[in-house]
Amino acid sequence: MKTERSGVSEKANASDSGRYAETKKLSSRIPAQGSFRWQIILVFVVGFFVLIAAFTAYQVRTESAYLYRDSTDETITLAESIAASSRSWVLANDVAGLQEVVHSLQGHTGLYYAMVISPSGRVLAHSDATKVGQFVSDDQSLALIKAPPRNQIMIDDASRIDIAVPILVENRLIGWARAAQGRKEIVGYLHNMMLSSALFVLMAVALSLLAALYIANRLGYRIGHLVQVAEAIQAGNYAARANISGADEIARLANSFNHMLDVLARDEAQLRAASLYTRSLIEASLDPLVTISAAGKITDVNQATEQVTGSSRAELIGTDFSSYFTEPEQARAGYLQAFQKGPVTDYPLALRHRDGHVTDVLYNASVYRNAAGEVLGVFAAARDVTERKMNEAVNASRLHLVRFSLTHTLDELLEETLNEAEKLTGSVIGFFHFVEDDQISLTLQNWSTRTKAVFCKAEGMGLHYRIDEAGVWVDCVRQGKAVIHNDYASLPNRKGMPEGHATVIRELVVPVFRGTKISAILGVGNKPANYNEEDVSTVSMLADLAFEIAERKKAEDKIIELNLDLERRVTERTAQLADANKELEAFSYSVSHDLRTPLRAIDGFSLMLLEDYADQLDDEGKRLLNVVRNNTSRMAHLIDDILHFSRVGRIEISFVETDMEQMVRDVLDELAPIIAGRKIQINLSVLPKALCDRAMMHQVIENLLSNAIKFTGKKDDARIDIGGRIEGNQAIYYVKDNGAGFDMQYANKLFGVFQRLHGIDEFEGTGIGLAIVKRIINRHGGTVWAEGEVGKGATIYFSIPIPS
């Protein structure tokens, strides 16, 4: 049936196209009325006809006029000659003579008749002798009797010319001579002429018709060709082109036409490509894309939309956009917002598939316009955020577990992990086992809260299982990968459940790897739908995380333990140190008190010897006792210095902003007694202020200045410069002298306790001054250094931090 019908229609098509072709052929031979060719032919034929006909008519007319005038002139001449010949005969009233004259004319070709009549109308002579003696009776002849005596045209028509010439004798009319010539010949001649002219006209028309047909056909074919091409293009054959050669206007027109077609074709191709490109883009998008009319109807969709709704493009177009969402009102509000307020971004909606499942999406929508800027509709693109939401949920679980782990035990954490795994996969069972390092047995570590409460009455916490004896739930250990059993009941190798154990319908168990070994397994079960790869990755992630946290928790416990131990040891050591410090203090106290007493005794009793037994001692004896006393004194100083030095290390620093220039001036005042009598040039430059302990800084300045004064002691032109500057976050000060100086290779010894670079007999002192300076500056967080040259002087620098 179907084939037949299609056959018929093919036939119909064929005949249609045949008729069409025939029409075309005909139309190319016989020009249709009003067509270009018809017009050319009409103009040619009518034009030629009118032209030739007019020309011929003019010729005939001119010829006939000439012939008529010529016959008239001849008749006049004839009549005049009759008149001249007749005059004497009329005078003589000789009728016979007159008849003779008239008769002589008898042989004249074309003479119709000739006569002489008296003024009263009597025929005196006539070419028809019978008429002689009669009176004229016709109106024309009667009119002649009354006519003035001059030439009169009696008759002038197509049949004859009749001229009357007066016969005059001394201006007295004596009669009329009349001659008439027939015009039959002329008429015949003209008739012939007109006949031949008509023939020429016909010939001309025929020729012009031929010429017109030729031109029209030639022009018409070329134009018709153009028309055909145009019609073909119109019918959709964009490849059709005019094929006309030559240099005429039509050929040029055809060229232009072809060029125009090329341009059109190119533009069309570009447009088509652009359109295809745009469509492909729209279709390539994994995001559902929809265009919506102002009325909220879908006007276009891409494949992604078809997939997410489960409806075809044809079904979707024309229906309400909002009807595909769980909340139509919200969807409507969304596109209305795009129409009224402008682009909408990340508008949350949920698309409902035909089969009921829902896809969470975020919509972006904006209006699109035509070239005139009028809003045509809304273009809406949805982004499937199911995965993102799942990721967010997974991330939230991760965060939750990490936080949870901070305040809960390992067991609580594992239970919570299982709860999260249940929640994310929609499971109702969850279990966690540690796998022993030997990979032979595993230990049940925990169940999810729900599993414990509802499903698993079987006791099992902390139970050990051998992997080779356990059921299919340890398949993942055997296979070394995540295992899904979506049809648990039909598994051939499954074992029976212990008493009180929940019925397992579906199961997903994932391993946690540490290196090549499995450290733990995490299982979930009885999800209402089948477990899939997504569940595997979610559960694996949680299992890994739980194990990581477990490891970290263990490590943290270890760290806490170590820290506690460390703290205990620090406390212990601190106490020991404090004891040692106390002992040291007690020791310094004893030193200050107890060492001095015997020294004083040595000195005192030496003096007693010198005083009480002076007469028994010789000079050498006295000198020796004095050596004892000097060394006693020196030792006393050393003890004082040691005590002083240790005190500098112990005393608490109280930082105060200090005017260093003022402090230097104060110290110089105090040192005035030892400067007295010396010639020393002291230059104090501008010094930055310092944040320091005043008493200690006073000590520093005092030590440095007294050193400078001491070591310039042997110079006649002693000079001491005190200066300072800010460098970065440090205030730097220096005391420079031109005294004894020192060798730079011993610069590091300069600040040591009791280090001296000069002989005791050269410069006095214990060598504690700079050590104290260094200790004080160090305690201020600064540093001390020195530059010098033997015999030229020394510069001692110190820096202390300035508060930021």
Binding site: S592, R596, T597, R600, A601, D603, G604, F605, A636
Partner: protein
């Protein structure tokens, strides 16, 4: 070392005999050692002042005009002795001069808190020591006027 009428002018509390000898020699040079009592520890000093123990028979009204007190003493520490002296109505007006080897700040501070009248750090050099002891003896015995 006491003269016969039993009047005590200086109580020297010093455990170290050499220091005591040096001190007494210096005072003697200035003729200030006539009525000097030397005790060797804090307990003896307190017994002497409050007329108990070995000094039970002593007249409590006979109080020294100045006490030279060492700080490091056997039995009762010098600061304790000072505290006892300055907290008893009978003895608190007696000028006490701490005469010690200690230069420790805390000793000095505490002594003054307890009401010491003078604090002398014994110089090691005998010349200076001798001079200091003589001067303080002169001052407290000859120049200072105690309340009646």
């Amino acid at each position: 070392m006491n003269d016969n009428n039993g009047i005590v002018e200086i109580l020297l509390v010093e455990d170290n005999p050499t220091d005591a000898e040096l001190a007494m020699r210096s005072l003697k040079k200035s003729n200030l050692s006539n009525n000097l009592v030397w005790v060797k520890d804090g307990a003896q000093a307190l017994d002497f002042l409050f007329c108990r123990g070995a000094y039970a028979g002593r007249d409590t009204k006979n109080i020294p005009r100045v006490i030279l007190l060492d700080l490091r003493l056997p039995k009762v520490d010098g600061l304790e002795v000072l505290r006892a002296i300055k907290s008893d109505e009978r003895t608190k007006f007696i000028p006490v001069v701490v005469l010690t080897s200690s230069k420790e700040d805390r000793d000095i501070t505490e002594s003054y808190q307890l009401g010491v009248n003078s604090y002398i750090s014994k110089p090691v050099e005998f010349d200076a020591f001798s001079k200091a002891v003589a001067e303080l003896g002169m001052y407290w015995l000859l120049l200072n006027r105690p309340p009646v």
